[in-house]
Subunit: 409 residues, 2 copies
């Protein structure tokens, strides 16, 4: 259960005259965190006419910077995570309009591609797993296509001759997350939003009500509502939020255009590996999943395993340039679903208040965080859900599974 008391008790926080006249200008919304989630929230909210400020020392430099940008709810499906699948499918359906808007307003090309994901298998066991997955996906009404090894290589000639077969998820798409950040920053500015490139030191309170964001410098940015979109760093603002960093190491390769034309995935040595090609010849190769806290080191073992697995899928990668090694921290939650919505009963003074179905005034504190591996995919639905919570519009039902209070029930 989130508990703000520790924040309120931090040294210095009470020294700031929270809510006092110098905590101006007063924004409708302050978003803490300028990853793809926070920026999308800020943009969609600003578009609705609210005054919006985003606080982040280095916009777009967190998990979004590392991300491969796969919009792949189908090929990422797991047997136990159907709420996540429904959420992902709903957000994937929003991506074409989100993209058209964002490209239109920013004038930037997101390298949005819709050629699908090809999931490949090697041995007999792998094939059995893919067959089973295909049946499960079909039972959910998802569109997948079973391919022979030859069928896979017809689509992607660089695939290993050892590939025995595969599944093509034609509805999966992908995008360049760094371009998304750049476009969101441009679109947000156009919509009148403000970005403050400083670190947020905590929340500002008036009694038990959140009234803004306290910068690390001590200055308070007043806001009617604060949206915590700080990914794995969110618990530093809202202690007790059930979010932990899941370290990912990810590589960028550079090859000739057309080396691959689709996202290629495979289960190699028990770990899912993927290669995501861009229009400019870059290939994102990911990713490790490590419970290592905020360990920012690129390790010999992480890079080794990624290259080893990629070689098994696509032997020709050995000839490509290794142009970048990156570490990112996914904001993980206990059930792999994000936290989207008001944080209720989190005031510093006392016990939880009963949740109101529609608050009479905008919630003072909301979460748009914990997106784990799916921040880019879930950006449209996250943004529109938060905007709905803020303006009193109806919130999509599928977002109910993301209620931040679900872990304390």
């Amino acid at each position: 259960m989130p508990d703000l008391r520790r924040t309120a008790a931090e040294p210095g926080s009470s020294a700031v005259p929270d809510g006092s006249p110098d905590a101006s200008p007063l924004y409708d919304v302050a978003v803490v965190g300028a990853g793809v989630a926070g920026l999308s929230v800020a943009w969609r909210t600003a578009r609705r006419g609210l005054s919006v400020v985003v606080v982040d020392p280095s916009p777009g430099s967190g998990a979004t910077h590392a991300s491969a940008g796969m919009l792949a709810p189908v090929s990422e499906v797991t047997y136990t995570e159907q709420p996540l699948l429904r959420l992902g499918l709903a957000s994937l359906a929003m991506w074409p309009a989100f993209r058209a808007d964002l490209e239109g307003e920013s004038g930037e090309d997101l390298d949005y591609r819709t050629d699908g994901t090809l999931d490949v298998a090697y041995g007999t066991d792998d094939m059995a797993y893919l067959d089973d997955l295909a049946s499960f996906e079909e039972s959910l009404g998802l569109r997948v296509e079973r391919l022979t090894g030859r069928g896979c290589r017809a689509l992607e000639p660089m695939l290993s001759p050892s590939v025995r077969g595969g599944l093509l998820a034609r509805d999966d798409a992908w995008v360049n997350p760094r371009r998304v950040v750049s476009a969101l920053l441009a679109a947000l500015a156009k919509a009148g939003g403000t970005v403050i490139t400083e670190r947020a030191g905590g929340l500002a309170f008036d009694g038990d009500r959140v009234v803004g964001v306290r910068l690390a410098s001590g200055q308070v940015i007043g806001a009617t509502s604060v949206v915590v979109a700080a990914g794995p760093w969110s618990p530093s603002l809202v202690p007790g939020l059930p979010i932990r960093p899941i370290k990912g190491q990810i590589l960028r390769l550079r090859g000739p255009e057309g080396f691959l034309t689709r996202c290629v995935r495979g289960l190699v040595h028990g770990a899912p590996a993927y290669l995501v090609p861009r229009g400019d010849g870059e290939i994102t190769l990911g990713a490790t999943m490590e419970e290592m806290g905020f360990d920012g080191r690129v390790t010999a073992g992480g890079v080794y395993e990624l290259l080893r697995d990629a070689r098994e899928l696509v032997p020709g990668v050995t000839e490509l340039e290794l142009s970048e090694t990156t570490v990112g921290f996914r904001p993980g939650t206990p059930d792999n679903l994000p936290l989207i919505g008001p944080l209720r009963g989190t005031g510093p003074r006392g016990p939880a208040e009963p949740a109101a179905p529609r608050p009479p005034r905008p919630p003072d504190l909301l979460a748009a965080t914990g997106h784990h591996r799916a921040g880019v995919l879930l950006a449209p639905i996250t943004a529109d859900a938060i905007a709905a919570f803020l303006t009193g519009e109806p919130v999509p039902q599928v977002v109910e599974s993301c209620d931040p209070g679900r872990f304390s029930r």
Copy 2:
């Protein structure tokens, strides 16, 4: 055979008034190339009282920057390269005094270490190879020690349990080449030498005599003698020099101090891999040998193979940070021996003149290049040999094998 005619015929080269009064100041020696060879030559020459200038757009950024800095003639011995072994042993014997001088004059610590090289073997075939190598080394009077697998692990506990045995070459040493460059620049400055950080466009001639270096900007730096120490780029100054770039990819890892205490080498998958520890916990892991011209790309395959081989030698490297990936170009020669000495009969006008045993005036053009994998090891003997050629001192006999004219005989 070196042939300067093409250089002399280059567009613009005759437009420069070579040897005219504006080609001043006139140095005794101009060295082209500020790698470990060029800087060592410059420093030792300046120490003898000659006026010296070094021309390099980016000192220490070539092969020296990539180099692991092994001073390892014993463990690097091959059956067919005894002249190289003799040269290496002679230079290794000079290193303690060279180091003491250099550290004393520069005030810098070279991280010079003398704990020896441990060459390890896995299977039966590898052990047989090492046994044979040990016998060969002993027949040459080299000091090596045969160790069991347990003996190897007693010296280096991080070694793989699969190591079957090894050879310890106690006389091998190593040094941090980047510190050597930094120290040489400081010592050279103290000895009155000058460094011009511009690219050399070619040589300057008066008739068939070299009279200086023409910078890419067109300016001529006049010099009585020019020393070509431009490594793999040397043929751009002296067309026809039998030197080619041999690409090496090399990694830097960062671990706890004492993770390894010696240079560890092994033949893995048919390729020699080595790990060179520094006092600060850095470990240099090398290196690929690629005939790829000046292909400056770090490749997925190169990094993969280095990490794979290192893991087999020392499994725990997977936990270390991969802090750097570097590409360098070794200056390779047909016989793997460097070119050290006067370049004779290379004038633009015509055929080779007969070589004089001791020229009446200093040679106008010399080579100190083509050191392949051994530039750091051979720096002391190269520097003193070139200084001897320039001043008329006796030249060490072992350097005769490096006569630049040997390929045209």
